[in-house]
Amino acid sequence: MPEPFWRKYIFSQDHKVIGIQYGLTALAFLFFGFCLMMIMRWQLAYPETPVPLIGEFLWENGILLPEVYNSLGAMHGTIMIFLGVVPLAVGAFGNYFVPLQIGTIDMAFPKLNMTSYWSYFVGGVIMVASFFTPEGAARSGWTSYPPLADFEPGQTLWLIGMVFLITSSLLGSINIIVTIVQLRAPGLTWMRLPFFVWTQLVTSFLLVLAFPPLEAAAVLQLMDRVVGTSFFLPSGLVVSGEIISATGGGSPLLWQHLFWFLAHPEVYVLILPAMGIVCEVIANNTRKPIWGYKSLVYAAIFLGFMSFIVWAHHMFMTGMGATMSAFFQTTTMIISIPSVIILTAFFLSLWGGSIRYNTPMLFALAFLPMFGIGGLTGLPLGLAASDISLHDTYYVIGHFHYVVAPGTIFALFAGIYYWFPKMTGRKMNETLGKLHFWPSLIFMNGIFLPMFIQGLAGISRRLWDGGAIYSHAADTLWLNEVMSVSAWLLGLIQFVFIVNFFYSMKKGEKAGRNPWDATTLEWVAPSPPIAHGNFESDIEVHRSAYEYSVPGRKRDFTPQTEPKKSDN
């Protein structure tokens, strides 16, 4: 009996369909989040001039209002992180490729999997819908610091949306952990897992343990806003001349602790799956095993563990004393070491390789120096003394965009180009791929490199006019235009990707089962893998994940399923 349409594509329980649902939704959100930012960049480049095309329909005079700027900024951050990158990296790639890479037929809990997608979807709808309410969307930054967030309109829907997104992430990551622990194919021991699977495992642990405190905090902030409690409001507040009637006795810093207790691990949630993808692509396209596999695994685990005890490096300026700041500075320096180890292992993997420069590889390679810049600029932020100059300036914005945009987003692009043949049975067009890559690389740097300069100059973030009224901004203000133009050009060039994506789906070059001559298990399945089952026969694993160019073998790759006796 054929499945009805809605069972097959909408309320499907097949991890592949759910993965694709996640993927398309998340890409749409990424694009939406980027559009918000392109609007903001207009105001930053040309303060108080009407926004072309859309401005006149939205605001009086077509000029972006300060409160709308704040809304767009908060929603850009929220959407990019919680609705874009995490669902794409964990929801889409995790869902689709973890079961395949461990040689099983589905996730451990298919119904739960479907629930977490729909919970994500509802959360997303609430977030987007908040733009159309009379109050507008949240406008206190993605960090939502009270007391501001306790007072500003639009925040309630943000909190409710977050509760759905948190629920979705929790269910999804429990599912991934159980799948990896329980459903590995016979013979697939821990040290034979592809690194991508390891990163998904660590990531899921971060989500399971770090998200609930934010959920608790969201509940408390909702209580503050709806029931009139004052968890985050101290006594004696006077806002615009009015004495606030709440009883007080709360603490604004409590929110920051609970928020960053999640949000720091969250940034490693953004980067770990990206590293996993990069690892797969690099091993495949250098045609040699990844260097220091074990050290990668241990570094990823250590990174996950440490990420729980560094959060207050976001709070150095809140009046932190000497002992605690020493503690958090030290842990922050320590946590940079596993990143260095992981990146170094990737570099060293290049040495002696036979490097193929296809599109996925280009994106994966670009990830390395871009993450390098982002990571290295984390160091002066992690030392409280130098953070005094840099905190809450564009330097911070530059730091984390280098890790998330030309870092994670590039890695995700690499993953899309790399796994597209598996998902659709067709390859994406290489020429268009390269046309997408090179301008993206240039414009990304055009946007984010100048931010370090503005940051050093001391220009605060979240300024409606980009700092135009401050004198210390005057020397570097012209860079705003450079950045904005780069951003719009970056936006333009993404259409090459979108065209390539949909064109290749229908018309791309047919790809067989294993177009990249890869070793891991997903390439044993047909492309696309069989609905509700993935593989034609049961999988048994006989070797480690990256047996490329083993001397004396006929082919330069040996799939994990190949029995040992065929060695030679």
Binding site: M317, G352, A385
Partner: protein
């Protein structure tokens, strides 16, 4: 060693404490630059040397030496040196060496949406009490109770911080409504103003406003309409829709100039007295 960062945009340092921060800022950036160039060179070389055309068959083992572990250890050690040698002591001095009132020019600063209220204790050196009920956005934004002990001679200004050069300044920072953050880029000072807390901060100016304006000659900053007011106090923490325009001015006088300014203020207080403060007890 910090010059290249200054060329990139780091403002001139107008404080006595700033050099310590500049030093670590410079050191970290050197470290970053060296690592990036070193790794980058290796990276580019590998990309060219090991392209498929040049090297059709990959070498299964690749790098065999353990030099990378040495390198990683070195990075770790340098980070620890920066941490223990610089960052931790600088921070300790920042939070622990807060001067007593007697050793410094002591000021209260109360942030609000979207202005900086500054409260001087006046000649008697005693801050008057303030109370919530007396707050009036027009005439008494910090709710100073003029009848409380020591309050009569207190000076309150909005967005105007005046300080003497080469003297310790202590500012007790708080906020009336939401979180703000004082940012004085030229003094390497930044501190969040968290409602419900009073956080002390301290620094010392090493340059008067006049000298500072001298250094700006010929730069883009010099052409700004309000540049003659000198240093500016920026807000670094999102505090609502007016965050972008929350700007105050900081004037650094020489010793005599500062005394003159204080005297002016006292005179003004005397003259304007009753009408200025909508407070009958006074």
């Amino acid at each position: 060693m910090i010059e290249w960062l200054q060329a990139l945009g780091l403002p001139i340092d107008a404080s006595a404490d700033g050099f310590a921060i500049d030093e670590i800022l410079g050191l970290v950036h050197w470290l970053m630059l060296i690592l990036f160039i070193g790794w980058g060179a290796f990276f580019i070389y590998s990309l060219i040397r090991f392209r498929q055309k040049r090297n059709p068959v990959a070498d299964h083992d690749g790098v065999k030496s353990h030099f990378s572990s040495v390198l990683e250890l070195a990075v770790a050690i340098i980070e620890m040196v920066l941490l223990v040698g610089f960052a931790i002591p600088i921070w300790a001095s920042r939070v622990n060496d807060v001067p007593e009132s007697s050793e410094a020019v002591h000021v209260r600063m109360v942030a609000q949406q979207f202005a900086w209220n500054i409260h001087y204790p006046g000649p008697d050196g005693i801050f008057g009490a303030s109370s919530l009920e007396l707050i009036d956005e027009e005439v008494n934004p910090i709710g100073l109770d003029r009848s409380s002990p020591g309050a009569a001679d207190d000076i309150v200004t909005i967005n105007q911080l005046h300080i003497p050069v080469n003297e310790r300044i202590r500012i007790d920072l708080s906020s009336k409504d939401v979180i703000h953050s004082v940012n004085l880029p030229e003094f390497r000072v930044k501190q969040d103003a968290v409602p419900g807390m009073v956080i002390p901060m301290h620094f010392e100016a090493s340059m008067t406003t006049e000298e500072f304006l001298e250094t700006l000659k010929g730069t883009a900053r010099d052409t700004l309409p309000d540049i003659e007011k000198g240093f500016q106090i920026a807000c670094a923490q999102l505090c609502g829709l007016g965050h972008y325009r929350m700007k105050g001015y900081l004037t650094v006088h020489d010793e005599a100039g500062f005394q003159d300014w204080l005297a002016d203020q006292a005179e003004y207080l005397e003259a304007e007295g009753d009408d200025d403060w909508d407070d009958d007890d006074w």
